[in-house]
Structures are given as structure tokens and as C-alpha cells.
Amino acid sequence: MLPEFDKNAAFIWASYALGAIMIGGAILTVMMKARLAKAELARTQARAEEARQK
């Protein structure tokens, strides 16, 4: 159930849509970066462990 606004409704929705896209994009990017960094560290640690055992 969306609220009804006056003649400037398009401006209000455009602002909040932009906010959702930008903040959502920032959250996604940060989470992806953290996941990739963690996976990369795990891979590197496994390689180091393998090298130590050889």
C-alpha cells in the first residue's frame, strides 16, 4: 500500500529509488569484496600449508 503524494510524487520516488540503488549497490559490493578476500586468504593459507608439508 503506497502512500499518495502531491504533484511532486515522481521526485520523491526518484530520490528513494536512487537511495535504494546506491545503498544496495554499496552493500552488495562490500559483501562481495569481503567474501572474495576471505576465500583468497583461505586458498593462500591452504597453499602455504601444502608447501610446508612437502
Binding site: L18, M22, V30
Partner: protein, 243 residues
């Protein structure tokens, strides 16, 4: 106190529970502020009718843009004086997020400006130009760091730029008092206290706090990613050296 936080292991332990708490509280406060701002609070005819509802996104974005720059400058100062790596990691993590919230502030301000002032942008408006300058400072900080060939040089060049650029933040705050601006005078953070009606003030403060907590959570997550990347690089370097 800075030294206690300067330990990356201690930071990883602390942020492993603090970041999710920030996300949860931030999301709750933003959702409440949004619900109040879009559905509950009455429109203010003096502020142009319903368009003032953009305030619940634009104003927190503006506060956070300035606060994040000050945070980046403070972390740079701590790195510059005490050489704490975690402070440099924090400054580096704040930059892209600060740029995002500054861009959001500029974009929503422009959208709010069109129906209110009849223009998307005013080149001689001190508030708009000083915020735009801060956006370029964030981008410049990231570009400068990326252009350096060692981490130490990147941290040093970035820290100097961040600290010098901090002069711009009080200029943004007081630009409406000192120069010509389409913006109204401060109505929340004033010497005499907030001039805004409580019905608008509380959702605005909740939204501001929510954005700040979300931002803090994101900064912590980015810092964790940077620490993991640096650790992986160290291990790779040891492997290459045959240790």
C-alpha cells in the same frame, strides 16, 4: 586507546560481532525513519508540500558525507602520528563509502532542488559547491592511493590529502551563514537547539543514526576484507621467498 584498537587480530574479533549488530540496528532505524517519513508525518506546506519527505534521505546522507570525511581525516591523522596500520585501513575503507553517501546527498539534493527552487543545480551556491568539492576529494583520495607503488607511499599521500581536505568540512557546515546559498539556515544542529518540529525531528534523527550504523558496519566489513587481503599478500610473499 588507539594502540588497543591498532591490533588487527583484536579488530577482527571485535568487528565479527559488532558489524552484524550495526547492520541490524541500522536497518531497523532506517526502516522506522522511512515508514515515518513516507507514511506517517504530515506534509509541510511551508517546505513545499510532500517534497520535504526527501529530507529523510537527503539530510542523513549529508550528515554522513561530512562525518565520513572527518572520520577519514581523523584516521589519517592517527596513522600519520602513530603509524597504526588499522587506522590507515579504516581511512582507506571509509573513502569509497563516503563518496557513495556524498553522491547520494548531491543527487537527492538536486532532485529536491528542482521542484523547490526550479533548478537542478546552482553553480554559485556555496553549499552545493563545497559538497561537490568534498566528493572530488574522496575520489582524489582513492585515485592518489591507487597511483602509488607502495602501501606506505599510498598511506602517506592519502593521509596528507585527507587532512588538508578536512578544512572543507566546517566550510560546508557554515556555508549557508557565510555565503549566498539557496539552502535554508541550519535547523537541527544549532546553538539554540533544533528549530524543527518534533514530529519531523525524531524520524530524521532515527534515520541519521540508522545510516550511521549501516555505514559503520560497512566500513568494518571493508576493513576486514583489507586485513584478509594483506594477510594473503604476506603469505604469498613468504611462499615466493621460499620460507
Amino acid at each position: 586507546m588507539f594502540s588497543w584498537f591498532a591490533n588487527p587480530h583484536r579488530f577482527l574479533t571485535l568487528s565479527s560481532w559488532l558489524a552484524p549488530v550495526c547492520y541490524a540496528l541500522g536497518a531497523l532505524l532506517i526502516a522506522w525513519g522511512l515508514w515515518q517519513g513516507l507514511w506517517i508525518v504530515p506534509k509541510d506546506e511551508y517546505q513545499g508540500g510532500d517534497i520535504m519527505r526527501v529530507m529523510f534521505l537527503h539530510v542523513p546522507a549529508a550528515w554522513l558525507a561530512m562525518a565520513s570525511y572527518m572520520g577519514m581525516a581523523m584516521m589519517s591523522f592517527i596513522w600519520f602520528i602513530w603509524r597504526h596500520e588499522v587506522a590507515d585501513i579504516a581511512a582507506k575503507a571509509i573513502a569509497p563509502l563516503g563518496a557513495t553517501w556524498t553522491a547520494l546527498c548531491l543527487a537527492t539534493g538536486s532532485i529536491w532542488g528542482k521542484p523547490t527552487w526550479g533548478t537542478w543545480w546552482q553553480w554559485d551556491d556555496a553549499r552545493m559547491m563545497s559538497v561537490l568539492f568534498m566528493f572530488f576529494l574522496f575520489l582524489g583520495y582513492m585515485a592518489l592511493r591507487a597511483a602509488m607503488d607502495t602501501r606506505q607511499k599510498a598511506a602517506r599521500a592519502g593521509a596528507i590529502l585527507a587532512m588538508v581536505g578536512a578544512i572543507n568540512v566546517p566550510l560546508i557546515k557554515f556555508s549557508v551563514d557565510l555565503f549566498t546559498s539557496l539552502h535554508q539556515d541550519a535547523s537541527v544542529i544549532t546553538v539554540d537547539g533544533p528549530k524543527m518540529a518534533a514530529v519531523y525531528l525524531w524520524p530524521l534523527l532515527a534515520s541519521g543514526l540508522g545510516h550511521s550504523l549501516l555505514f559503520a558496519g560497512l566500513v568494518m566489513t571493508l576493513m576486514r576484507a583489507e586485513i584478509w587481503q594483506r594477510r594473503a599478500a604476506q603469505i604469498r610473499a613468504r611462499l615466493m621467498a621460499g620460507d
